[in-house]
């Protein structure tokens, strides 16, 4: 199964992500979930970015609303628009989970 996990909160959701099993996993950061792409704690990136083999995306509009720019985003995360998010849901992943 190709699964997209849409992470909408700064809460630590890595334990949920860790339990998700998928042939292909995409993690899409929206709303306050975008903080996982730009903030570090104790010099470490968010554990949410630690799922091996996952593809990471962050919605640019939600980043900019919170005062961040594309240049602030961790290198493993791709910046996308809401239109790209729709393409991911409709074309690239069969199921999705909003966390």
């Amino acid at each position: 199964m190709k699964l997209a996990a849409i992470v909408s909160d700064w809460r630590r959701t890595e334990s949920t992500l860790e339990r998700l099993k998928a042939e292909k996993l995409g993690v899409i950061l929206v709303q306050n979930g975008v903080y996982h792409a730009v903030l570090k704690e104790g010099g470490q990136v968010s554990p949410v970015l630690g799922k091996e083999g996952a593809e990471y995306y962050v919605v640019k509009e939600d980043l900019e609303t919170r005062g961040f720019a594309e240049a602030d985003v961790d290198g493993k995360v791709k910046t996308i628009t809401y239109g790209d998010l729709v393409d991911l849901i409709m074309n690239d992943y069969e199921k999705n989970a909003w966390l």
Binding site: S8, Q31, N32, Y82, L85, V86, D87, I89, W98
Partner: protein, 119 residues
């Protein structure tokens, strides 16, 4: 063209979750997809008439009415609305009211379903 059903089971009017769900609906329609939008719980307040725009506060009603005009189906949970004292005459007539069966039927009939759960 594919079909997407979005269900929001949380969030008061003004929340960013509802705003994101509406942005996704709009983006999907711009790409030519058919969108069905369902709200339960407190999110049913989106349908209430007489809401006022405030600065720095998500005001979604105009956008939803615009999307309905363009073909989006928007339905609120009738029981959730009734439980909150929001009667049919309190809702915009373009915003339908139905039982949960509507959401399930739309979900099963769609290519994709985006279920945004409760808080």
């Amino acid at each position: 063209m594919a079909e997407l059903t979005i269900g929001v089971f949380s969030s008061l009017v003004g929340s960013t979750t509802l705003a994101s769900a509406v942005k996704i609906a709009e983006a999907a329609m711009e790409k030519g997809h058919k969108v069905n939008f369902w709200t339960s719980g407190n999110a049913t307040a989106l349908a209430k008439k007489g809401q006022k725009k405030f600065q720095d506060y998500n005001f979604l009603q105009d956008k939803i009415l615009e999307l309905i005009e363009k073909g989006m189906e928007f339905t609120i949970c009738e029981a959730c609305a009734q439980a909150r004292g929001m009667l049919k005459e309190d809702s915009h007539e373009q915003m339908k009211r139905a039982a949960m069966d509507w959401y399930l039927a739309k979900g099963f009939g769609s290519d994709r379903m985006l279920h945004i759960g409760g808080e």
